[in-house]
Symmetry: C2
Subunit: 319 residues, 2 copies
DNA sequence: GAAGCCACTTTGACTAGGACAAACTCCATG
DNA sequence: CATGGAGTTTGTCCTAGTCAAAGTGGCTTC
């Protein structure tokens, strides 16, 4: 989720008398935080689509009943999957759920993946940790990432859209995978050779997991990774390229990232760093792009990465 | 640095022609993300204090020149340190910087910390990693967190505000510390006992490092941690408390987090989870709070954590 | 001199609707 | 099949007020 307004949190409605069973009516600021829809958007939708229709408190301020907030959450989830608000906001909650179910592919998981999903659902944290560790050992880091973590992350995302996973379950999953992968990366790191690869995402792209998967695969191949975390502004990427004598910039884009912005950002970056520094772009957003971008390698699958490293080495024998 | 706004992607001003030397004029949304001051506040200050005084583009929309943004950053930073806007917003930039310098303690770093800062500045990534690893080994996880990572993070933040560190240098630092701490947490995890502690931050609070420091200390004390990463909505925290049979909810707040929001969010959370589940709140924002919040433990220093765990255990002997 | 209380000041989160550009959709043309 | 243009959708920006909560400071009282 991404919100635009940031700090606004209304001290207003939110705390009706703390004691009794309260109706849990939320102020506009609370809904913003909860759903990730900015206050401007909430008011705009009310005007345009006549939904939501919040009640008003003594002071004429909006207060949202829980069922409307729930519907807003579902709509937001579907929007993250590419639906446009106008098309879906009028639908009944039940139809929305049906739509979410049909928009994801529920089937086709092998038993391993299904078993892990079940552990998350059952909140079996220690077992989950252990199972992930086991699979890493059995498959090795490379196959663990491509065959397990990749599909699993997609499955978790799908389940979340269908409302089968709560936000906190998805957060917990993300956190556990991060732990496992970071650990594996630390162990695999050793002989760092060329190429030197800078890893990050553009601003407003918070998807860390993709980046960590990429880092894992690159480290396995013995490349030197310079991870900058998420949301590095273009100008800063350019500075880092110089400071760290980088050979390749690898960028990750989640499905939620707007195609155009990705293409524009990549072109701008291409223009601002030396031609002999390669740019690799990957992630669901990139997979959607039709046309190629001059001077940018579009990575459509994680499997390509080892090969890209090999090719780079072949092209730069003395490095 | 920590940024509060999360999703806003202003397609407006920000990307003037990529090629030439651009003037770097920012739209109000961009300034919001950059400084952490909401659009409402930026417009309000303009009306009340006659600062900032943004220019206007062809369409009458505000565009902020870099020097005003810089001053806004400094003002925000001082506010995070407890100054009130009305008192400082009229001061000249030079005076503000002087005030900021006197408010941050530049001196007093021991040589160890200074040496690490120097490694970051010099972009010596392998040496940085090695040095952090060494210090962890020498000090042990607990002292490493309280005596090294804590002060170091503050020093990096201070240096960033003074413009001595680039964004990418700060990102790299954050990423390295994350690697080291996550690794240490994984190794320290073993006999997990009571209490079961849920760890997260509120929405729009992205400061992961604080959370990881806390997790490290708790794991050392043998507590069971359920880390949810950052930005979990209040309602989800409540659900997670039930699902994971949590004894304590620990929340981390960076300096950039607005006090009011923190207090309101904590009160709301307090009302929505069972009374026998404790709430511990910590971080720079909490250190600023004057009044206590009913039913919430305000943790003003990392050192308190082990003691809190001990006290919890004493109060719940059979757990 | 510390503690409590009150009035005053400061502050920012909310209210309203209108305007416009970027992004998306769709269709026609090369 | 793709490129270009027209029309639609969408969200961010604008205006200007209002009011509650937090902070400040002075007063009284013990």
């Amino acid at each position: 989720m991404e919100i635009s307004s940031e700090n606004t949190h209304p001290p207003r409605a939110e705390s009706p008398r703390a004691g009794g069973e309260r109706a849990l009516l939320l102020s506009i600021g609370a809904v913003e935080r909860d759903t990730g829809l900015s206050k401007d958007v909430l008011r705009m939708w009310e005007r345009r689509y006549a939904f939501p229709q919040p009640l008003r408190d003594d002071h004429g301020e909006r207060i949202y009943p829980p069922d409307q907030v729930a519907k807003l959450r579902t709509v937001k989830r579907l929007m993250d999957r590419g639906f446009r608000p106008g098309k879906i906001i009028g639908m009944a909650p039940a139809d929305l759920d049906a739509l979410a179910a049909s928009a994801t592919n529920r089937a086709g998981h092998d038993d391993e993946i299904e078993a892990i999903l079940e552990l998350i659902r059952a909140h079996q944290l220690p077992e989950l940790r252990q199972r992930l560790g086991q699979m890493l050992m059995r498959q090795g880091l490379q196959r663990f990432v491509t065959d397990t973590v990749g599909p699993l992350t997609v499955a978790v995302g799908d389940a979340w859209v269908r409302g089968e996973f709560a936000v906190f379950e998805e957060h917990l999953y993300t956190e556990q995978i991060q732990g496992v992968l970071r650990n594996a990366i630390a162990s695999a790191q050793g002989h760092s050779k060329a190429p030197r690869i800078l890893l990050t995402t553009f601003p407003s792209e918070q998807h860390r997991l993709g980046m960590l998967m990429v880092e894992s695969l690159l480290v396995v191949d013995g490349a030197t990774c310079i991870p900058l975390g998420t949301e590095t502004p273009g100008a800063e990427i350019a500075r880092a390229v110089g400071a760290h004598r980088v050979n390749v910039v690898a960028l990750s884009f989640s499905a939620a990232f707007p195609d155009r912005q990705a293409a524009a950002g990549l072109r701008e970056l291409r223009a601002s760093i030396p031609r002999d520094v390669e740019i690799w772009a990957g992630g669901s957003c990139i997979r959607r792009l039709r046309r190629s971008i001059d001077g940018v390698v579009l990575v459509r699958s994680l499997d390509q990465l080892p090969q890209l490293v090999t090719e780079w080495r072949a092209a730069h024998p003395r490095a």
